[in-house]
C-alpha cells in the first residue's frame, strides 16, 4: 500500500513542481518503499500517455454547418470579405470538369458493359497567364462550374441509389444521414448565394459543400464496389473515412 503521507509529494514530483527539500525527503523514502516507487512510475506513465493522445480533426461538414448558420442568422457581412483571385473560379471549373469525368469512371466500376465516360466535361482551365476577364465572364464561369458540380452529383447519385442494396442497413443509414447534413448545408448556401449573388465567400462556401457531396458519393460507390469484390478490409477503411 502506498504511503498516504507522501501522496501529495508524489503528485508534485510527477507534476515537476516539487521543491528541493520535499524532493530530497521523498527520494529518501522511495529508496526503501516499493509501493510508492511503483505509484510514481505508474502516475508518470499515465501522464505521459495522456499527453501523447492525438488531436482529433472534426469532419469538414462541421465548418459548413457553422458557416451556413451564421449566414442564416445574418451575422456575416459582405463588406471586407477576403479577396479571391479570379483564377480560383477557373480552378473550380477545372475540378468540376474532372469530377464529371470521375463520375463517369465511378459508373464504369459498377456497370458490366463498357461505357464511354462523359464527353460533356468543360474545356480545361486556362493558365495563370490569361488576360483579365470581365465580371460577367467570371460570373458565367462560376455558373458553369456550379452546373458541372451539380451534373456530377446527379450522375453519382443515380449510380449510388441504384446499387445501395449492396450495403448493410447500418452503413446505408449513416451515409443517408451524412448526405442529409450536406444537402442541408448546400440548400442554406444556395439561399445565401441567391440573396448575395456578388458575394465571393458565399460561392466559395457553396463550392466547398458541393465538393463534400461529390466526395461522399464517390466514397459510397467505391465502398459498394469493394463489398461486391469481397474486399472487407478496404470496405472497412472507406466506412471509417466517412
Amino acid at each position: 500500500m502506498a504511503c498516504q503521507q507522501y501522496l501529495n509529494s508524489v503528485h508534485e514530483l510527477v507534476d515537476g513542481t516539487i521543491g528541493a527539500i520535499r524532493r530530497a525527503e521523498l527520494e529518501q523514502h522511495l529508496d526503501g518503499c516499493d509501493a510508492c516507487r511503483a505509484l510514481v512510475s505508474d502516475l508518470q506513465r499515465i501522464r505521459d500517455a495522456a499527453g501523447a493522445l492525438p488531436e482529433m480533426r472534426p469532419p469538414d461538414r462541421v465548418w459548413l454547418q457553422i458557416a451556413g448558420r451564421l449566414r442564416q442568422e445574418g451575422r456575416i457581412t459582405t463588406a471586407a470579405e477576403p479577396e479571391r483571385t479570379r483564377h480560383s473560379y477557373v480552378a473550380w471549373l477545372a475540378i468540376a470538369a474532372a469530377l464529371v469525368i470521375a463520375a463517369g469512371g465511378a459508373v464504369m466500376l459498377l456497370i458490366p458493359r463498357p461505357t464511354t465516360p462523359s464527353q460533356s466535361a468543360a474545356p480545361a482551365a486556362q493558365n495563370s497567364g490569361a488576360p483579365v476577364r470581365s465580371v460577367e465572364t467570371v460570373q458565367n464561369e462560376v455558373d458553369a462550374a456550379q452546373q458541372q458540380f451539380e451534373k456530377a452529383i446527379s450522375e453519382l447519385e443515380k449510380v449510388a441509389k441504384a446499387n445501395q442494396q449492396a450495403l448493410d442497413p447500418g452503413t446505408s443509414a449513416t451515409i443517408e444521414k451524412n448526405l442529409g447534413i450536406i444537402d442541408q448545408a448546400i440548400a442554406e448556401n444556395r439561399a445565401a448565394v441567391k440573396s448575395e449573388p456578388a458575394s465571393v465567400a458565399a460561392r466559395e462556401t457553396l463550392f466547398d459543400a458541393l465538393r463534400q457531396k461529390v466526395s461522399l458519393l464517390q466514397d459510397t460507390i467505391a465502398l459498394i464496389n469493394e463489398m461486391r469484390k469481397g474486399n472487407n478490409a478496404a470496405a472497412a477503411q472507406l466506412v471509417n473515412k466517412s
Partner: protein, 195 residues
C-alpha cells in the same frame, strides 16, 4: 516549466500574442467569414478533441462543437484580451460541455459521484500497472469513466497541456482544487487501467 500549449499555440498561430488575438476577433466582429474560419481552423482540433473525450461520443461532439463556435461568435463582444483567445474559447467550450454532460446525466437519472478517499487509497495501493505501454484505447475508455469534474481537469491539464493556473481560470475553480482533481483522476485511472 514549459509554456502552456494553449498560449503558445495562440501566439504561434496569431503571430504575436494578445494584440493578434484582438485583431482577429475584431475582424470576426465585423462579420468577416474568412476571419472566423481562420479562428475555427486554429482552435477546432483541440476543442473537438476535448468535446469527444468529455462526451465519449463523436456524434455528440460534432453537435456541441458547432454550438461552441456559434456561441463564440455571439459572444465575441465580451472578449477583451484579458486572457489568451485559446483560454477564452476553452472556458466557453467547457461551460457548454459540462452543462451538456450534467443535463444528460440528469435525464438518465444518474448522480454525479465524486471520488471517495477510500477508493482513491485503493487505487494508490496494490499492484503496479503491467510493464507494456499503456494502450491508447484503454486510456480513452478509462477517461470516459471518470466523474465529469475530474475528467474535465484531467483533460485540460494532462491531455491539453494547460497549466493549473489556466485550468482554474477555465473551470472557475481554485488552483488547489485543479491540482486535487487532476491527482484524483490519475489515481482513479491507475485503478481502472489495472483491471
Amino acid at each position: 516549466m514549459t509554456t502552456s500549449k494553449v498560449t503558445a499555440h495562440s501566439s504561434a498561430v496569431a503571430g504575436g500574442g494578445r494584440s493578434a488575438d484582438l485583431d482577429l476577433v475584431e475582424r470576426c466582429r465585423r462579420g468577416e467569414l474568412g476571419a472566423f474560419e481562420e479562428l475555427y481552423r486554429a482552435h477546432s482540433g483541440r476543442l473537438y478533441s476535448l468535446a469527444s473525450r468529455m462526451l465519449g461520443n463523436p456524434a455528440d461532439a460534432e453537435d456541441q462543437l458547432q454550438e461552441i463556435f456559434l456561441s463564440a461568435h455571439r459572444k465575441l463582444e465580451s472578449f477583451r484580451g484579458d486572457s489568451a483567445l485559446g483560454t477564452w474559447l476553452y472556458r466557453l467550450a467547457m461551460n457548454q460541455l459540462l452543462d451538456y454532460v450534467r443535463s444528460r446525466a440528469a435525464r438518465a437519472g444518474q448522480l454525479t459521484d465524486g471520488l471517495d478517499d477510500a477508493s482513491l487509497l485503493a487505487d494508490a495501493g496494490g499492484h503496479k500497472l503491467a510493464d507494456r505501454a499503456i494502450d491508447r484505447i484503454d486510456l480513452e475508455r478509462a477517461v470516459a469513466e471518470l466523474p465529469e469534474g475530474c475528467r474535465a481537469a484531467f483533460l485540460l491539464h494532462d491531455v491539453e497541456g494547460l497549466e493549473h493556473r489556466e485550468v482554474s481560470e477555465v473551470l472557475g475553480i481554485a488552483e488547489g482544487t485543479s491540482k486535487s482533481q487532476v491527482h484524483k483522476a490519475r489515481l482513479r485511472l491507475r485503478g481502472l487501467l489495472r483491471r
